[in-house]
Amino acid sequence: MIEILTGLISQESLISFWEANSWVPEALAVATWETIYMVAVSTFFAYVFGLPLGIILVTTSPGHVLENIRVNQVLGSIVNAVRSIPFIVFLILIIPFTRLVVGTYIGTVASIVPLTLAAIPFVARLVETSLKEIEWGLVEAALSMGASAWQVIYKVLIPEAMPSLSLGVAITTINLVGYSAMAGIVGGGGLGTLAYYYGYQRYEDLVMWSTVIVLIILVQSVQMLGDNLAARIAKKRR
């Protein structure tokens, strides 16, 4: 950091600094885009599978509308098992599967597989927590009107949990930004790869710090979006 700042002091050195580093903005832009792409796609797929899984975890629990203790226990254990594997280990563990699906385990597209798979149980638990907060009285009121389990889910549980669910999406996305950086270290592309190869292995401070700043901006934006959305929904209902 200090080096960069002192390097900027004279105009002459400024020009030579720029010449030496003119590739950085473009590399940063490409890497940022890759990160956004990986995170967005894997968040999407994590919800495609995780949302139903979370709903099943809630509704098959004892006394709930689709009570099924066996299904509940089996799914609960799988979710816990996957969640207890550190992501970096998980990443390596499922390389054969990633290869099977994408054909390779290196690159942005390939990273989407482990990111999605690791996020599914995380999303499922987040969804479960959100839906469990809904007062049981609301479910009973719907049942007393003759609602089916499916109607309870899509007319009561999901709409009522919407503020909390949208916060969950923000949390998941932020987590995946972090995970994607880890995936980057083993060749996943995106900001993680950039920081690792140029920042860590080649001591390029500029790259290192720019990456950090971009990551901070990304995470902040996602959090603000999530908070905003949740607040807007909650405010409408107030």
Binding site: A142, M145, A147, P159, R237
Partner: protein
């Protein structure tokens, strides 16, 4: 309308078994408001929740409108529930929907065509006096308004029966009265049968036609509200009545020393009178006809539903024969007599 036969409910929590209802039988007639009163934990909620099978009975059968509700399949039960409205202590409105859409909710479940559903919601809003709140979210309503939405929602599918689980227990006395009036009004206008549970004897007194007293998982007393008020059979019923009507004769009166009455006897009696007889000069004509002196020691008049209801503590002095005849005279005119002390 509702026929409950030998209903028993046992909750199993871990290895503990809780007997919540013990062989309860009960009939609710079409068009009446039937109240069930009991202390907290007596089993009221369990009982009313068995009627629409939110709670599955351990033993026993329940018929609603001729249909054995305890024998239905899941699908049949869902259809049957559409015709049994329910309102709750904490209203249970959806915070994600406006007032209008909360009332739409049961109509969506019953797949009533959109256009007809909207019209029904509109007229329900008028009925409960909330037309101007149609587009407001429940969070902006007062407790009383929320319960009105609850009532409108419960009536949306034109049920023949309304279940009320402590619907006024979270409301202040004034709001309670207005909600009870609304229920009474709906009962009269739509001929809707209402089964309500409460721990508040005022609710029974204001709106119910008949009442059952539940104590410790059993029904200990059942009858017309006026009958139970004038002649309670169990300590539980008496103590509930005591919470709204003062029937207790002050202890000092019960133990008042007798003056020298020279061959005459003194008896302390409680006279309860209901309805029309409350307006007639029965006591004074008894005194004239039977040569009895009477001291009125204590008295009050109240109203149970729409009927005047009174209590009088009388000290009667006269010959034993005369007093006996006098009391028979009163009994023959429909007054309830209880001898509290006799010398």
């Amino acid at each position: 309308m509702i026929e409950i036969r030998n209903l028993t409910k046992i909750y199993t929590v871990g290895d503990q078994r809780i007997l919540a209802l013990d062989n309860v039988s009960l009939t609710v007639k079409k068009g009446e408001i039937f109240g069930i009163i009991g202390l907290s934990g007596a089993g009221k909620s369990t009982l009313i929740r068995c009627v629409n099978m939110l709670e599955r009975p351990t033993h026993g059968t329940i018929f609603v409108d001729g249909q054995e509700i305890t024998a239905l399949s899941e699908e049949e039960l869902r259809v049957a529930r559409q015709k049994i409205g329910m309102i709750f202590q904490h209203f249970n409105l959806l915070s994600s929907r406006t007032v209008f859409n909360n009332i739409m909710f049961p109509l969506e479940i019953a797949r009533v065509p959109k256009k007809e559903a909207r019209q029904r919601v509109q007229s329900l809003l008028e009925m409960v006096g909330l037309t101007d709140k149609a587009d407001v979210y429940p969070a902006q309503l007062s407790g009383g308004q929320k319960q009105r939405v609850g009532i409108a929602r419960a009536l949306a599918n034109r049920p023949s029966l309304l279940l009320s689980d402590e619907a006024t227990s979270a409301l202040d006395p004034q709001t309670t009265r207005s909600i009870l009036e609304l229920l009474r009004d709906i009962n009269r206008r739509l001929g809707l049968t209402i089964l309500l549970i409460t721990h508040d004897m005022n609710v029974i007194k204001e709106v119910c036609d008949r009442v059952a007293v539940i104590d410790n998982s059993r029904i200990v007393e059942i009858g017309d509200v006026l009958e139970v008020f004038s002649n309670p059979q169990t300590p539980t019923a008496r103590s509930f009545i005591g919470t709204v009507i003062n029937r207790e004769i002050p202890v000092e009166l019960l133990h008042r020393p007798n003056g020298d009455s020279g061959g005459k006897t003194t008896r302390l009696v409680r006279v309860s009178f209901i309805g029309a007889s409350a307006g007639e000069p029965i006591i004074s004509s008894m005194i004239r006809q039977y040569d009895i002196e009477a001291n009125i020691l204590y008295g009050n008049i109240d109203r149970v539903k729409d009927t005047p209801f009174g209590n009088l503590a009388l000290e009667l002095i006269g010959s034993p024969d005369m007093i006996d005849s006098g009391l028979t005279y009163l009994r023959n005119r429909g007054l309830e007599i209880e001898v509290l002390r006799s010398d």
